[in-house]
Each structure stands twice: as C-alpha cells, then as structure tokens.
C-alpha cells in the first residue's frame, strides 16, 4: 500500500522554495512592527501583539491538535500527503511568527505593568506561565518544528517515502496536541492574571 501511495505522489518539487516566499513580506512587517513597538514602549501596541499573537497561537495549536489531527488520521495516505504539502510550508512561517509576537510582547508588557517584580501579588502565576511556555518551547523546537521541516524535505525527494511522512506527521499532530493541552493551562493563568 505504501509503494502504491508513493507512486501516486507528484513529481519532485526540489526546484520550488521550501516556504512560500511571498509569506516573508507579512512576517518581516510583523517583526519590524514588534521591534518598533518594544523600542518605543508603546503599551497599546504591546497589548495588541500579545493578545492577537497569543489568541491565534492558542487557537491554532488547539485546532491542529484536536481538529486537523483526528481528520488527518482518517484520510487515505495520498490525501494526507496532499494536505501536508499545502499545510506545512505555511505552518513553518505562521507558528514561529505567532510565538515571537506573543512572547516578546508579553515579556515587555509584564515588565511594563510590574508583573515581573517579586512584589507583584500574583508573581507566582507569572513564573508558572514561564514554566508552561518553557515546556511548550521544548516540544515545539525539538518535535514540532523539526518534523515540519523534515516532512517538507521528504516531499521534495523524487520518491517520497509515505511511511516517513506519516511518522513525521503523526509526531507533528501529537506534539501539537500536547502544546494545545498546555495552551489550556496558559488560558487559565492568563485569565487569572487579567482578573
């Protein structure tokens, strides 16, 4: 079945860029905007980057782990590969951008609001949020992102191996599920801090 699925894959795409290059324009704009916002200590801007980035990051993690994951498991192998081909290059741009937006703006916002100080009444919650982010970073950087990149490289081979792609996608979806579950903890902590 795996051999038959491999035959159904499209011709090699090694000449194409790994990521959609047009996507680098909004990513660059967001990074420049983020640096400018931090440098000018613009409170509304920091709030905007943190809330928008965090909301989208949380929603995307939950969506990937608990919606796309189960759907993908039920698809035939060629359909999974086709979905992967279209989804993963975009994810490689979207996720790091959202994470950078959320964490950089969030840390500066916490500093601005005095939440980083040990004298802050809910300092323990702030430290707990850092611990949750640390676990998410470990999972994302060691499992999610490498799987994402490895799938893209496998898909560019003349004869992609569906078993490797399936294994990496399984790892990607499970890791997204773990970070999705951690995001629920983040929601609890953030709403505690905001109340």
């Amino acid at each position: 079945m795996a051999v038959a699925a491999a035959r159904e894959l499209e011709a090699p795409t090694a000449a194409q860029p790994l990521i959609p290059l047009r996507g680098l324009i909004p990513v660059s704009a967001i990074v420049v905007g983020l640096v400018a916002t931090i440098a000018s200590d613009w409170t509304w801007g920091l709030d905007f980057f943190h809330v928008v980035g965090g909301g989208m990051w949380t929603a995307l993690d939950l969506f990937m782990g608990f919606v796309i994951g189960p759907i993908m498991r039920g698809l035939p192998v060629p359909a999974r590969v086709e979905l992967t081909k279209r989804l993963m290059p975009r994810m490689l741009l979207i996720m790091p951008t959202l994470v950078t937006m959320t964490l950089a703006a969030g840390f500066q916002l916490a500093r601005h609001n005095g939440m980083l100080s040990t004298s802050y009444g809910r300092h323990g919650w702030v430290v707990a949020s850092m611990a949750v982010v640390a676990v998410m970073a470990m999972v994302a950087l060691a499992l999610l992102q490498p799987a994402n990149i490895a799938v893209l490289f496998e898909l560019r081979k003349p004869q992609p191996n569906p078993a490797i792609i399936q294994g990496l996608m399984r790892r990607f979806i499970y890791a997204a599920g773990v970070t999705g579950a951690m995001q629920v903890a983040t929601l609890v902590i953030m709403t505690r801090l905001a109340t």
């Binding site: 100080s117 850092m130 470990m138």
Partner: protein, 129 residues
Amino acid sequence: MSGQREPRVTELGMLSIGLVAAGVIYLAAYLPRRAPLAPAMILLACAAGVLATNALLLARRPGFAWWRFRQVAGWMLLVYLVVAGMLEFTFLYDHTHGAVLVLMTLLLAVFTLNVPLLSAWTVARFENG
C-alpha cells in the same frame, strides 16, 4: 537508515533546552532583585554539557548525511541568530548588565545552537549519507 541504534539527539536536545529555560526562569523569577548566580551557572554548565555530548554522539555516527545536516543547520542558525539578536536587544533594552547579562547571553547561545542541531538532525537522519 541502518540497523544501528540511533543517538538520542532529540531527547538530549529537549533536555538542554529545558535546562536553558530553567536558568532563564530562575533569573527572571527574582526580578527586579538579582538572583544568586550559582544555580543559574550550574544550569548553564549542564545545558552546555548536554549540547556538547549531543554533538559528540552525532559526530561519531557513521554514514550520516552531513551534507544535508550542514544545509539545514546553516539556514536554521541564520534564522535563530536573528531571533537571538532580538532577545539580546531586549536584554540590553531592559538594562540587564554585568554577570546576569553574561549568563543570559550564554544561555541564549546554548539555546540558539540547540535549535538548528535538532532540526538538521531530524531532516538528515532520513537522508542517505
């Protein structure tokens, strides 16, 4: 892939990043006071040691697709140098200085080297050497 048992690069990488994160959280948890530096130094040494062990285990692997490893690691390093540059900027912007700045910078360096290693390993292990 050969039948040889693969080194635990991903697990060791996670451990090293976890130790870096623990060091940063420890230092940040004391703000605005200065944390006693010894625990952070121990965490940094452990993180760097695990990273070095990981690189050594990888270097001893025969038939590894180093050409692909170098390609992926090079680009990933470029991307994460930009990220690390932004983080270093925020350290300096927040008036971090002295021994704490040195520690934070070294922790950041270990983090920045771990990420390309993990991605490049995951890609290259599925290539023919």
